[in-house]
């Protein structure tokens, strides 16, 4: 007779082993919900990442170029940008989410669902990513920038052809870190009806005491974060020429 190990274990009775087999049995029933929630999470994170990249990268560049000794020193601009970034960085994400509700309603028309969650996610990630970009760009050898000046290079070209390419591995690593942070933020967005895996964990796992959903979302989140990090590390290694 062909017996599955899970069935044998089940026959053996309850205890931790029994719990695992229960969970495995339950998995196919949960899968449709889990899959849809995963898609929602990916949707939120992808869009929030794009917005963070689009806004955070120029912001990070400005933080470096407007600084003393930068390409275009502008202490006042730098102070204002620095303050904005610090305010964004100092708010806990859950507070920020609530604080920007009216902006979210204005931009998206609702405060519920994954699309609405993109707004606070982006606002939370932009200053985070901008600081990481700043750090990565500061790693670029000043001598190389000076050499570019000596060759009669325009400042915009120095940013585009020297600073960004030289910092690329660091920038990719920063982006990966931002994506990972966004995944965890997106789970928090579930708390106020943002959708995604966090939402599922709270609705099914916490409010309806269904531990299986809780475990399943934890497993999926870990797998996604691992996948993103490994892919990012691989890219950084490929690009690193130092």
């Amino acid at each position: 007779m062909n017996t599955l190990p899970a069935d044998l274990l089940l026959a053996a009775g309850a205890g931790p082993v029994g719990a695992v087999t229960d969970f495995l049995r339950e998995w196919p029933n949960m899968w449709p919900d889990l899959w849809l929630s995963t898609l929602d999470t990916v949707y939120m994170v992808v869009w929030a990442t794009l917005v963070s990249l689009l806004v955070g990268l120029p912001l990070g560049v400005l933080l470096v170029t407007t600084d003393k000794g930068g390409l275009t020193p502008a202490p006042a601009v730098r102070a204002v940008l620095g303050a904005i970034v610090n305010i964004g960085r100092s708010l806990p994400f859950i507070v920020l989410m609530v604080a920007v509700l009216s902006l979210t309603r204005f931009l998206v028309g609702t405060t519920l669902g994954p699309t609405a969650a993109i707004v606070p996610l982006s606002i939370g990630a932009i200053p985070f990513f901008a600081r990481l970009v700043e750090t990565a760009l500061r790693e670029v050898d000043r001598g190389v920038i000076e050499a570019a000046h000596a060759m009669g290079t325009r400042r915009a070209t120095i940013v585009g052809k020297v600073m960004l390419p030289e910092a690329l591995p660091g920038l990719i690593a920063s982006l990966v870190m931002t994506v990972v942070t966004l995944i965890s933020y997106s789970a928090m967005a579930g708390a106020i009806g943002g959708g995604g895996l966090g939402d599922l964990a709270i609705r099914e796992g916490y409010q309806r005491f269904n531990d299986h959903y809780l475990w399943a979302t934890v497993i999926l989140l870990v797998v996604i974060v691992q996948a993103v990090q490994s892919l990012g590390d691989l890219l950084v290694r490929r690009l690193s020429r130092r």
């Binding site: 050499a147 000046h149 000596a150 052809k161 390419p165 130092r242």
Partner: protein, 322 residues
């Protein structure tokens, strides 16, 4: 080719002011290799950076190849800088680009097309002996190879002037020699004018036609190396050729600054009736010429007359005992 007049530069730090240049005048003739030597903090680096205006002097003018750079700003200054190559102590190569990508960078910046760039890069790598490394990344090269890439890059836009910022200071002695002879060869083949700064006297001795000693933001001495060697009391001569520890108080070191064809020692014994005892000597190459040095003990009643005869014959005479 390079004319800098009355350069002053003061750095204002939080509490103090540091005068990096206090009235430096510099003139480098076309096709000349001019070396500025001095301790760190003497202002050499500021002087070099003033020539392509990476540092703008507070007062004074810089003229390169007939164009007054200090009068230029923005796009015109950038264009002028393309006519001045620069080599850096720590190479300053882009780690994200291949050797070919680095050498092609200045051409890319000045809008040279891909095909022309590729041809020129090939030529330049051939010139510095790195044709087989075009696709390598800087991290795969030795220090000497990196500096050759730096030199090729500096020459990409066919400059007339090359600035060298301690180009050999990060290299071992053998590599230093090969880079120095490359620089001299490039000067000979391309008619470059080279201004270099260094803290190594050896660099001056090996390739410079003219030199200046810098201290506290000013030149202590400057001129053609061979002239300075023949000048009594010259700091540069003394630094290039420290007095050897030979013999006693009657020892004299005689330096022959140029090829010298007079039987001066036998003349000495005959005319002044002194004893000349040769203690040691040698011939060194300075600025492409042979410079001889002889340590001799001179004894006799008419010793003083003998020494002044040597001086008037065009030799540099230094008394060890003094």
């Amino acid at each position: 080719m390079i004319d800098a007049v009355g350069l002053h530069k003061v750095y204002r730090l939080k509490k103090s002011r540091v005068a990096a240049l206090r009235g430096v005048d510099l003139r480098v003739e076309p096709g000349e290799i001019f070396g500025v030597v001095g301790q760190s903090g003497a202002g050499k680096s500021t002087l070099l950076r003033s020539v392509n205006l990476l540092e703008r002097p507070d007062t004074g003018t810089v003229t390169v190849d007939g164009e007054e750079l200090t009068a230029l700003r923005g796009a015109r200054l950038r264009a002028a800088r393309r006519g001045i190559g620069m080599v850096h102590q720590h190479f300053a190569l882009l780690s994200s680009r291949t050797v070919a990508g680095n050498v092609g960078f200045p051409l890319e910046v000045s809008g040279v097309g891909r095909a022309e760039r590729r041809a020129r890069v090939g030529e330049l790598l051939e010139l510095v002996g790195l044709a087989d490394k075009a696709r390598a990344y800087p991290s795969q090269l030795s220090g000497g190879q990196k500096q050759r890439v730096g030199i090729a890059r500096a020459l990409a836009s066919r400059p007339k002037v090359l600035l060298s910022d301690e180009a050999t200071s990060a290299l071992d002695p053998a590599t230093t020699d090969s880079i120095l002879s490359l620089l001299r060869r490039l000067r000979d083949e391309l008619g470059l004018t080279i201004l270099l700064i260094t803290h190594e006297m050896d660099v001056i001795k090996k390739i410079c036609d003219s030199a200046a000693i810098m201290e506290d933001g000013a030149f202590l001495e400057s001129g053609r190396v061979l002239d300075l060697i023949g000048t009594p009391g010259s700091l540069l001569a003394r630094s290039l050729f420290p007095l050897p520890e030979l013999g006693g108080s009657d020892t004299v070191v005689v330096t022959y600054p140029r090829s010298f064809d007079m039987p001066v020692m036998s003349e000495l014994t005959r005319r002044f009736d002194v004893d000349v005892n040769i203690l040691g000597g040698g011939v060194e190459q300075v600025a492409g010429q042979s410079v001889g040095r002889l340590g001799v003990a001179i004894r006799g009643d008419r010793r003083a007359e003998a020494l002044s005869y040597l001086s008037t014959s065009g030799l540099l005479v230094e008394e060890v005992g003094k």
